[in-house]
Each structure stands twice: as structure tokens, then as C-alpha cells.
């Protein structure tokens, strides 16, 4: 039976607004899940995010997740972030 691990997901800017103001979610997922799977899980819980999904970039522990790279497994205590297109500077 798979262990459950805890991943903290943060939603920023437009993503947070579409999620009804939710800025942080504590996910309990199976050990062995990837960042993409965690993302899908969040979209299931906050369907309004689907309209933004194709624009969203993920970050894991303060580093961008490259969509073209091999899948990355999340570990217990990891921090995921949903990053809409940035506009600083």
C-alpha cells in the first residue's frame, strides 16, 4: 500500500483568484506522484483553474519545472507553486 506524502501547493495572482481566493493548499498524495499529477489534482479540486491551465508554469521548491523535461517525483514536504505568466520588473 502506497505511503501518503504531504505537498504544500501555493497559488499566486490570477490562479489564486480563479481558485476563489485560495492561496495555499495542503495536498496529500501518493508517494511516487509527479508534479504533473499534483497539478491535475489541484485542477480537479478547483475546476475554474482549467481556463488558465495551459498558461500555468509549475515550480517545485523554488525552481521552475521544465515542461519538456522528464517527470519529477514529489517528496514529502515539497513546495509546489502554480505560476501564472509573470509581470514583474
Amino acid at each position: 500500500e502506497k505511503m501518503q506524502i504531504r505537498v504544500r501547493a501555493q497559488l499566486f495572482a490570477h490562479a489564486r483568484e480563479l481558485a476563489g481566493g485560495v492561496s495555499e493548499v495542503s495536498l496529500e498524495v501518493d508517494d511516487g506522484w509527479t508534479t504533473a499529477q499534483c497539478f491535475e489534482d489541484i485542477l480537479t479540486r478547483f475546476p475554474a483553474l482549467k481556463s488558465l491551465a495551459s498558461c500555468l508554469t509549475l515550480a517545485l521548491n523554488d525552481s521552475y519545472v521544465d515542461k519538456n523535461a522528464p517527470p519529477i517525483l514529489v517528496r514529502d514536504g515539497d513546495e509546489l507553486a502554480l505560476i501564472p505568466p509573470i509581470s514583474g520588473g
Binding site: D62, P85, G89
Partner: protein, 160 residues
Amino acid sequence: MASANGKVVEEEGVEDDVVEIKEKPLDIMRYMDAVRDSSAGAIATFSGTTRDTFEGQEVLELRYEAYETMAYRELRKICQAARERWELKRMAVAHRTGIVPIGQESVFIAVSSIHRQDALKACQFVIDEIKASVPIWKKEIYNNGESWKQNSEFLTRNTT
């Protein structure tokens, strides 16, 4: 680092650079003083200031938001990348969050170097990189709506 004759050579590095994200007006002079150096001959700075118009529409207010831990990390990576490309003395980079009134600085960059080319080029590089990678967002508030802006520099870099 030790030089060839064994003496310890002090080298400016990114650990000395000033990197700040704060919900207060940016203190420009403090950053300029932070990079001023008696061995440097040049200081180049860049300020991004908030505009009162976007595509003909009047902007009433701007709000900035940052993913702070990652933004600090990305800013330091940018400073390190700049140091690898140019001979720099000191750097200071600051971004404001929260409500930024029209005409005020949202971002400020200061770089010092011995020769002006390095500071000028590094300054341009830093603002270009900030716009492409630092997780900070801007929302424009108009009379009849609001809009989360998107940097083309980020979209270009992240197009699969």
C-alpha cells in the same frame, strides 16, 4: 579566494549584493550608496516606473505580488549570471510589492563596475532577466475593470 602568491584576495560576490523585495517605497539613494565604491568608475541604474496609461486606457492603480522565496532566489541567480558575464563591483536589485502609485518605482537596479560598459550591459541584462523569470505579478486596475499583466519575455522563454 587566495591569489597566486598566497595572499587572500577579496572579491566582490553575489553574497554581498543587495536584493530586496518589500511593500514600501524603494529608497533609490540607499541602493546607489550600496553600490558606490571608490574602486568603481561607473554606476548604471534602471528604474521601472508605473505608467498611467496602457493602450489608451487610464490606469488607476497597480498592484504587485511576489512569490517571495522563489523571487529572492531567482534575483540572486540573475546577479550571479551577470557577474559571470561582466566584471562587476557591486549590485543592488529591489522590487516593490503591494500598491505602487503611478509614477513611482516598482523595480530598481544599480550596478557598479570599474569600466562603464560592464555596468551598463549588466544593468540591461538584469532587467531583461527579471522580466523573463522572476515570479512577481502586476495587476492593472482601470475604471472599468482590471487585468493581470503578462511579460512577453516570460511567454517567449516558456513557449514549448
